[in-house]
């Protein structure tokens, strides 16, 4: 969901958390627990999702299911520079030594003391396996996640058509809705962080779209009205290092305008800039309203 992604961007940028309105409707995307992350290849989506997973598990106590077609063998390159900061967090969530096993599935016996980590990585190889993973989430009542991340849905959808895209999107939303209802029923605090199940899906936009790709995008957008865009930024102000720059912002296709909480004077950043150096190192900067318009 958008709040988790904003949290990851804030953490990455190192900016102290500004006073934020407690009104959950004050920011785009905060009403709904589902978010679609969109951007071209190598714009930082996997790093952002990975960081959101660690923060959700370490700081909010969420149990995370991270699904990807490509196994994550090591820390994503853009996050390597943050290894020292990530260390304490990774210990909290059970990713020991920041080395990920890259196995198809992990079991309790893979970890010291048989303690299951709060983040489970699964790498279904096909669209059918992906559907199976999501459809069977409800079967293991002891391990139900409160955050489901699917990184790179396009890798499964490439050969599977619109119906598969609708099926997996609807399955994710339906599964999260069921788990949210279940968590709320047993939680003493229905509004607490663990009282709902959130879903974040990332999709790589191709450099040129055809009707089929656009059709698949239209289908998935039905189920995920909240979007986080990582858009190439062609504006290069003075002092910005060589490399690629992306602008990060959120949109919601709900027709409901986010409420302006003028009473508390919310200072929450609405846009971010992600910059990649030639070395692959990533920098995240919050954009104030005065310089976010210079795109």
């Amino acid at each position: 969901m958008a709040g988790l992604l904003r949290g990851a961007l804030r953490w990455y940028s190192g900016v102290e958390h500004a006073e934020v309105s407690t009104d959950s409707l004050s920011l785009i995307g905060d009403r709904l627990p589902y978010c679609l992350v969109l951007g071209e290849h190598a714009c930082g989506k996997t790093s952002l999702l990975f960081l959101a997973a660690i923060l959700a598990a370490a700081e909010e106590g969420k149990r995370v299911l991270f699904i990807s077609r490509s196994p994550i063998q090591t820390l994503p390159a853009p996050l390597v520079g943050l290894r020292a900061r990530l260390g304490p967090l990774s210990l909290k969530v059970g990713i020991f030594s920041l080395g990920l096993h890259g196995k198809q599935t992990l079991t309790q016996s893979d970890f010291p003391g048989n303690k299951m980590p709060k983040i489970q990585f699964l790498y279904p190889r096909s669209s059918d396996e992906l559907l199976q993973v999501v459809a069977s989430v409800h079967e293991n009542e002891k391990l139900v996640p409160s955050l489901i991340i699917v990184d790179g849905l396009n890798e499964y959808a490439a050969t599977s058509g619109h119906h598969f895209v609708a099926h997996v999107s609807a399955l994710l939303v339906d599964t999260a809705a069921f788990l949210t209802e279940r968590f709320s029923a047993i939680s003493k605090n229905p509004e607490g962080v663990n009282s709902k199940c959130s879903v974040i899906v990332s999709l790589t936009l191709p450099s040129c779209t055809d009707d089929e790709t656009e059709g698949s995008l239209n289908v998935i957008e039905r189920y995920f009205p909240v979007r986080c865009w990582l858009e190439k930024d062609t504006y290069s102000p003075e002092g910005v290092v060589e490399g690629q720059n992306f602008r990060v912002y959120f949109s919601e296709e709900s027709g409901i305008e986010p409420q302006q909480d003028s009473a508390s004077g919310s200072q929450e950043t609405k846009e971010w800039k992600v910059m990649f150096r030639e070395s692959g190192e990533m920098t995240v900067l919050p954009l104030s309203p005065s310089n976010s318009g210079t795109m």
Binding site: L131, Q132, A135, S136, H138, E139, E141, H162, H163, A166, H167, S169, A170, L171, V173, D174, A177, F178, E181, R182, G215, N218, V219, R222, Y223, P225
Partner: protein, 162 residues
């Protein structure tokens, strides 16, 4: 019927067909309101009044009649696992069975794939509408089953029915 046409009902539900055709995976608020009225009336009279039937047809087009037929034939069943995970199964007019989800629009039938996803000229198919109507009228059968069976129904794909 013009897409700009408005219809006003005694129950203060004013809507246009354009409002209904928002391409989303959940019902627009006007449709939710209509279903609530149907539920309220059905509870009292055990039937859907003519004006609400008219609103249903206006809102959803030709599939409304087919959905009502499916409800009359008791074609909708909700399968529930011990954990509470649920999925709907609808027996179509041809006798084939399709899976529909509870919280957002998805159906394993070819019409959903074609008319809703590809052509974008319907919000939902007759099976999904039949699920909504059977919920509103309390005529949906509920069956407790295994977690594995529910997973299987959730996985039902379009080609399983061709």
């Amino acid at each position: 019927m013009s897409t700009d046409m408005f219809i006003s009902l005694p129950y203060n539900i004013i809507l246009s067909r354009e409002q209904v055709l928002e391409m989303d995976a959940v019902l627009p608020s006007a449709a939710e309101e209509l279903l609530r009225e149907i539920q309220k009336q059905y509870l009292e009279t055990k039937q859907i009044p003519d004006d609400l039937l008219l609103a249903l047809k206006f809102m959803f087009g030709p599939i409304a009649v087919h959905a009502l037929d499916l409800v009359d034939q008791h074609s909708v069943t909700q399968f529930v696992a011990p954990s509470g995970r649920a999925v709907y199964q609808v027996i179509g007019s041809s006798g084939r069975v399709y899976s529909c989800f509870s919280s957002c629009h998805y159906c394993s039938c070819p019409a959903f794939s074609f008319s809703v996803l590809r052509k974008n000229d319907s919000l939902l198919c007759k099976h999904i509408l039949a699920v909504y109507l059977s919920q509103a009228t309390g005529t949906c059968q509920e069956v407790t089953t295994s977690a594995g069976h529910v997973t299987g129904l959730l996985l039902a794909k379009e080609e399983d029915n061709t």
